[in-house]
């Protein structure tokens, strides 16, 4: 019944909105960087040679291990939380995109060459559609990781006083298990809805499967 009370007062919505905002900023930045670098690594050997060791070196470090540095450098606020989420989701997005480019059947690119298509036509008609399923998978995995990182990032405290993870730490101090469970359920529901949305995008943009 704590859930109903929190919902009535509008507090739950404010907590959820604050968390959703952080996830969207972190996930947005992670998608942008991950997709761009993924295509770059997939299509340019020099970029792969430079970036692959960097990625493989940074990737095994858990995003949560960055929290101390993030707080030191960025302070407590949207920047550090979004940064942690960014680190969590950027690698699955980048690697899925990269794999997608590598998995393009060479014969499709040869068809493009045979017809004398220029680079822009080849990108629009071959590279992007061929890799789209992989990119969308990366986004879906990335979104899942983003929610995991969010709670950890918020456990360190937030400035605004709102956020589902933050609400849960405060509830822990007050020994309010019911409120903690409301937080857990809310995160589950939001994550579920986001995944549904992503599936919807896949259906919309990958109708040929």
């Amino acid at each position: 019944m704590e859930g109903v009370r929190l919902l009535r007062s509008g507090d739950l919505v404010r907590h959820a909105a604050a968390s959703l905002g952080r996830v969207l900023v972190g996930l947005g930045a992670g998608s942008l960087v991950g997709i761009l670098l993924g295509y770059l690594m997939g299509t340019r050997p020099w970029a792969r040679d430079i970036l692959e060791p960097v990625v493989e070196l940074v990737r095994p470090v858990p995003p949560l291990a960055w929290i101390p540095l993030a707080i030191l450098w960025l302070g407590i606020g949207l920047a550090d939380q979004a940064f942690i989420i960014f680190l969590g989701c950027v690698f699955p997005i980048l690697l899925n995109t990269y794999e997608g480019v590598r998995a393009i059947e060479p014969r499709y690119l040869e068809v493009s060459r045979v017809f004398g298509a220029d680079d822009s036509t080849t990108w629009r008609r071959v590279v992007v559609p061929a890799t789209l399923p992989h990119v969308l998978t990366g986004l879906r995995v990335g979104a899942g990781v983003a929610w995991m990182c969010l709670v950890a990032a918020e456990l360190q405290g937030v400035r605004t006083g709102y956020g589902l993870g933050y609400m849960m730490v405060v509830a822990q101090d007050l020994a309010r298990a019911d409120r903690i469970m409301v937080g857990m359920v809310s995160i589950g529901v939001l994550g579920y809805l986001m995944n549904r949305g992503m599936r919807g995008l896949e259906g919309r943009f990958v109708p040929w499967r």
Binding site: F115, G116, A117, W208
Partner: protein
Amino acid sequence: MAVDPPVLAVKGLTKSFGDLDVIDGLDLTVRQGELMAIVGPSGCGKTTLLRLLAGLETPTAGSVKVRGEPVTGSGPDRVLIFQEGTVFPWATVEENVSFGMEARGDVDPERVAEAVRTCGLDGFQDNYPRTLSGGMERRVALARAMVAEPDMLLMDEPFSSLDAQTSRILQNTLMRLWKETGTTVVLVTHDVEVALRLASRVMVVSSRPLRERDVHDLTGKDGEREVVRRKVLKVLEAEVGERLY
């Protein structure tokens, strides 16, 4: 009187991949509007030959000239139809066919619609390839090539792995298009019957490394097809060391 250079002139064409000699000193001339069939045993290097003509590979030695100009890469004047599996799975039939025009510049929806119709794809415009049969996919590839209006159509085993009936219908479609457009066609096949039925000229080639064995002109010699057929089979049987028919 000045003579136009042939559409395709191949001189001393040789291709090796490392130690593997695939083509050895091939000469081949194809004139405007011919349907040239190159017949050889499976795995003899026919696909490599077409890839060289299309400009997807560079010769180890020798030259390929199109209308007197050396080939330096692929170009929309020569469209290669690969053996199979090159229709884009993410695009509908109509989008696949338009690609042939889009790659060259502007898409004319009327021409696309016409190619869709003449290749027997009417009613399937919005289908994705996964819903098509093997024969229909070949039609899409053919229509996509036709809208590009190439000088020369290069076809790699265009009728392989189709059932006899589908193969025959597709052959008729090709013949109709060839007669209507006057496009020069070079097709490679291991199937003697297909070559004899369609071609205006047949070249028989050896096992790898690919060399010329025999050339037969079939234009206006319908009565002699049986004679040519026996000659072609004799050469091929000598190549593979087995009786074929």
